[in-house]
């Protein structure tokens, strides 16, 4: 595949996907992006994909930048710019359009029903995303224990997540995983 065809393929796919990330942000796109980039195309490995997410979590800024890093690993700077723009621009234009026409605060029964419907879906999608990253079918017991431990602490405290990521790095360095 030529570089340009690859970038177009990546960009179009992410642009379409970006519009389905409703109710919980782009994190829940991760299983789908992984399916497309790792399983279907083999552009990068599962480990590289998961590492991109972890690295972006450890850096400042929106979590969506993990997609920039995935783009970078696939096709360098052009890949990073393509992936970031593709995932950012369509929803941004939609939001701007809705703002402009004043459709954002609709209280009609259908608007309410749509909001109601997306609440449980967002929850299920986030759990599915955690499942994809934790990869429970092929991870060690220690690995899963760390995931569940981190989830419990994050659920019960308001600790800045970056400390937990640092703690995870320290646990990993000890070599128990």
């Amino acid at each position: 595949m030529t570089e340009l065809a690859l970038l177009a393929d990546l960009g179009i796919h992410l642009a379409l996907l970006s519009l389905t990330a409703i109710g919980g942000g782009v994190v829940m796109l991760a299983p789908e992006i992984e399916r497309f980039i790792v399983a279907s195309h083999g552009w990068i490995t599962h480990d590289q994909f998961a590492a991109s997410y972890a690295i972006a979590q450890a850096a400042p800024g929106p979590n969506l930048l993990f997609i920039s890093l995935v783009g970078w690993l696939i096709a360098g700077f052009a890949g990073a710019v393509t992936a970031t723009t593709a995932v950012l621009l369509p929803p941004a234009l939609l939001t701007l359009g809705l703002m402009r026409w004043g459709w954002l605060n609709s209280q009609g029964p259908w608007a309410r029903a749509i909001r109601e419907a997306f609440l449980p879906l967002a929850t299920g999608f986030l759990i599915a995303t955690a499942w994809t990253f934790a990869n429970p079918m092929s991870s060690s017991v220690a690995h899963l224990a760390l995931t569940i431990g981190a989830a419990v602490v994050a659920y019960r405290s308001k600790l800045n997540p970056v400390y937990l990521i640092a703690l995870g790095a320290a646990v990993g360095l000890s070599g128990v995983l």
Binding site: G25, A58, P62, R100, P120, F133, A154, Y155, V171
Partner: protein
């Protein structure tokens, strides 16, 4: 757009959102609240909550949608663009720097080990977010039947996307219309 909101130059909006983004290790939203509501008083807590609620149901990254809404209210379309660029530009370059380091040192054994731990924790953080939204949803006072229906949709969404590994678009296209019809039909108090 509220006519009483003062227009702010795009450069100021860009600067404010860049600062917010760079403070946001592990999540930008709390810092957006702190700066925009507590410190600069661009809007009240209630206005912030309302804007956030709207941004959460729009497709795309919540924080960027919030930037667009608040940027637009403070400076029109240019303000919206300035807010998003502020949120993205500098962190993007930082992440790419880390990407270069990862490509260079990613094979080193101790880096691999550290990354393994970071990935395990990152998965736990996502799980916690999902559980928080779920718990919040189940806490509001609704009849048991409504709660069970919601729970059923949580499970179906998880199975479809996570276990069966269906494409997201397929899962959304089946469950979103189904859920909308169910919740539309439910009699409201």
């Amino acid at each position: 757009m509220a006519p009483d909101v003062p227009r702010r130059p795009p450069l100021e909006i860009f600067r404010v959102f860049t600062v917010i983004s760079l403070m946001g290790f592990g999540g930008v939203l709390p810092f957006a609240y702190h700066r925009l509501v507590d410190r600069y008083r661009w809007l009240t807590a209630a206005e912030f909550g309302q804007a956030l609620g709207v941004c959460q149901i729009l497709p795309g990254p919540t924080i960027c949608n919030l930037g667009i809404v608040l940027g637009y209210e403070n400076g029109g379309a240019r303000g919206a663009a300035a807010a998003v660029l502020g949120l993205i530009t500098v962190p993007f370059l930082i992440v790419l720097g880390l990407g270069v380091a990862y490509q260079r040192f990613g094979d080193v054994a101790f880096v691999q080990n550290a990354l393994k731990g970071m990935i395990a924790v990152a998965a736990g953080l996502i799980l916690a977010t999902g559980l928080k939204i779920g718990a919040h949803m189940l806490k509001d006072r609704q009849p048991t039947a409504v709660q069970l229906t919601r729970l059923a949709f949580v499970v179906l969404a998880f199975l479809g996307l996570g276990v069966l590994r269906w494409p997201l678009i397929a899962v959304v296209c089946i469950l979103a219309p189904a859920g909308t019809l169910v919740f539309r039909a439910w009699p409201r108090p």
